[in-house]
């Protein structure tokens, strides 16, 4: 038990009497945690990060270049925004590359459970990287964001593969145009 009354019978410092040297801003818990996450980032060989401003660890890009599966040879850029409530809330992740994918829509929204409903503070940036990488290896038609792509993957795998290839080379799939994103 802390005995405040006996410890502090003396009045406390009056307002504004900041101690010398105490004026350096303290790092937020979110900042401390993301520094830790990033310093321990263990990227698979198909992934890379880019920090436009190395002093800003809260905003960065992840580049995934799958080496197998439907999306082999493509280069997909994701933006990460880590908010002040990290890790209570997950980072906001968007796909900046237009991609024909059952779980990524044309606005770049990504359907990955740990980015929303299954996020937990024990998860890290690394968990998200692996989750995203997995989406390219095993697109999941059960959780569609792009319904056409999902239906196609289930009904006609070959056609789906052709459409993925066409989108990555740059071209139309249906009425939607995709920029070239081959390496």
């Amino acid at each position: 038990m802390i005995k405040l009354f006996s410890l502090k019978q003396q009045k406390k410092d009056e307002e504004g009497s900041a101690r010398a040297g105490g004026s350096q801003k303290k790092a937020s818990a979110a900042q401390l945690r993301i520094t830790k996450d990033l310093n321990e980032l263990n990227l698979p060989k198909t992934c890379n990060t880019e920090f436009p401003d190395p002093d800003d660890l809260l905003n960065f890009k992840l580049i995934i270049c799958p080496d197998e599966g439907f999306y082999r040879g493509g280069r997909f850029v994701f933006s990460f925004k880590v908010g002040p409530n990290y890790p209570h809330e997950p980072p906001k992740v968007k796909c900046e590359t237009a991609v024909y994918h059952p779980n990524i829509d044309l606005e770049g929204n990504v359907c990955l459970n740990i980015l929303r409903e299954d996020w937990k503070p024990v998860l890290t940036v690394n968990s998200i990287v692996y989750g995203l990488q997995y989406l390219f290896l095993e697109p999941n038609p059960e959780d569609p964001l792009n319904k056409e792509a999902a239906d196609e993957l289930q009904s006609n795998r070959r056609l789906f593969e052709q459409h993925v290839q066409r989108a990555m080379r740059g071209g139309y799939v249906g009425s939607n145009y995709f920029e070239r994103c081959l390496k």
Partner: protein
């Protein structure tokens, strides 16, 4: 002596009669170390400074409770202004106060109503106030609805801790935090002794995550009215940008809410879902859970009691986390939340490192890898200079390594570091990012005050 004065004196005697019984005599429930004395009442009335964070539902209750208990040196901080919907439970405010500062109105009301109370209002956000401000308080009690704000406050109180040379905690630097929270018929109250017991970050897992639905469900298989509203909020807004791409959705803007409501209704009709209402739209957008006045009253009373116990030592504090659930019957229990040895906030005791003022960053890096106290593998080093984060060196990320490699050759003073500056170091060998204070070993003119 005039009649009036006698009455006042008599009134003063009677006014503190019950509090005196607690503080001026011993009893079976007292803490064994408690020494009854008349000075304790003097302490809470004239010396003990308490900061109340938040002047909303809990804050109004806390200010009233503490003022009536005899605390006079009360400060209250809140950046919000009064809205019509507050008036049912934030009882220090009247209709005429709408639009005015919550903190100021609450203080004005209580100072007028409770003789002798000298409460002070701060109409600003907690982040606007600095270490010097927080250090003046004996106790901080908070009634906030924001986890970010709680975490910030927790971090601030941790940063005020001082450690002795043997790395033991200097108890006089501890400012206890009493934290209350409510959500509908549920609430909790807890006592945190920074550096000594479980803190907000230790138990971050206890906060329920914000209710979210899988993105694919709201995009393709909506079943609930909430799914339709979330769809408009998360997907349709960004697609259509009804007020231009620079305007983000504001749950307080009636036009925005109306737009979302309309679009959500359209979507609901398409999927045969009923009961999308304006209120529900508001609720989903702002994540509103109806506030219940009696929950606030119960939680605030618990918090105020704990503040009283802390200030007077007359009784042992709760240990340390109380849960109240009145949604079915009334249920409450108290458990001891455990301090996490790897907590990012409270295990992060600042260490210091001696270094020559003309050393290079490489010298710090080498010390971190080779000194027995550290033996790190690949430390990432950052700092904060003039309020901005700065990455000094991080080898694990290629693009950062390339951009910061040259820093290793630079003198630490060239990089903006000074005697007394904190560096933040992350490494696989430690559970957390460490804060390390630099101590210049050959320092002649002490520029700590910079």
């Amino acid at each position: 002596m005039a009649d009036g004065e006698v009455q006042t004196l008599d009134y003063q005697q009677r006014r503190w009669h019950n509090i005196r019984k607690l503080l001026e005599r011993s009893g079976p429930f007292c803490h064994p170390d408690f020494e009854p004395s008349a000075e304790i009442l003097d302490f809470i009335m004239n010396s003990c400074k308490v900061l109340i964070v938040g002047a909303g539902g809990l804050g109004c209750e806390l200010l009233k409770d503490l003022a009536l208990m005899g605390f006079k040196k009360l400060h209250i901080v809140d950046m919000d202004t009064i809205e019509l919907s507050n008036l049912n439970r934030q009882f220090l405010f009247r209709k005429n106060d709408i639009g005015l500062s919550k903190a100021k109105c609450a203080v004005e009301f209580v100072n007028k109503r409770v003789p002798g109370c000298e409460a002070v209002a701060h109409h600003c956000s907690i982040q606007d106030l600095d270490e010097g401000f927080y250090r003046q308080f004996h106790i901080v009690v908070c009634g906030l609805d924001s986890i970010v704000a709680r975490r910030w406050l927790n971090g601030m109180l941790m940063s005020l801790l001082q450690y002795n040379d043997d790395r033991s905690l200097d108890q006089s630097s501890v400012i206890p935090l009493v934290d209350g929270g409510t959500e509908g018929f549920k609430g909790n109250a807890r006592v945190i002794l920074p550096g000594m017991s479980a803190c907000i970050e230790c138990t971050l897992d206890l906060y329920p995550p914000q209710k979210t639905f899988p993105l694919c469900t709201i995009a393709n298989t909506p079943r609930l009215p909430e799914h339709c509203i979330e769809y408009v909020k998360v997907l349709q807004w960004a697609k259509e940008n009804p007020w231009g791409s620079s305007t983000s959705l504001d749950g307080d803007d009636p036009q925005h809410v109306a737009w979302v409501y309309e679009k959500a209704q359209e979507r609901a009709t398409k999927y045969g879902i009923t009961s999308v209402t304006y209120r529900l739209t508001q609720g989903v957008l702002k994540n509103i859970i109806p506030a219940v006045a009696s929950t606030n009253a119960a939680i605030a009373a618990t918090c105020a009691t704990e503040v009283f116990k802390l200030a007077t030592s007359c009784c042992t504090n709760m240990n340390n986390y109380m849960v109240l659930n009145m949604s079915e019957g009334v249920y409450t229990y108290t458990f001891a939340a455990e301090k996490r040895p790897d907590c990012i906030a409270c295990s992060n005791t600042t260490r210091s490192m001696e270094i020559e003022s003309n050393a290079t960053l490489q010298a710090i890096y080498d010390k971190l890898c080779e000194d027995k106290g550290y033996l790190m593998k690949s430390p990432g080093i950052t700092t904060i200079i003039n309020g901005r984060n700065k990455t000094l060196y991080m080898s694990s990320i290629k693009s950062i390594e390339e951009k910061t490699r040259d820093n290793l050759k630079k003198k630490i003073t060239e990089l903006g570091l000074y005697n007394g500056a904190d560096i933040l170091v992350a490494d696989v060998t430690t559970p957390n990012t460490l804060t390390i204070k630099l101590k210049f070993s050959n320092n002649l003119d002490d520029d700590m005050g910079r």
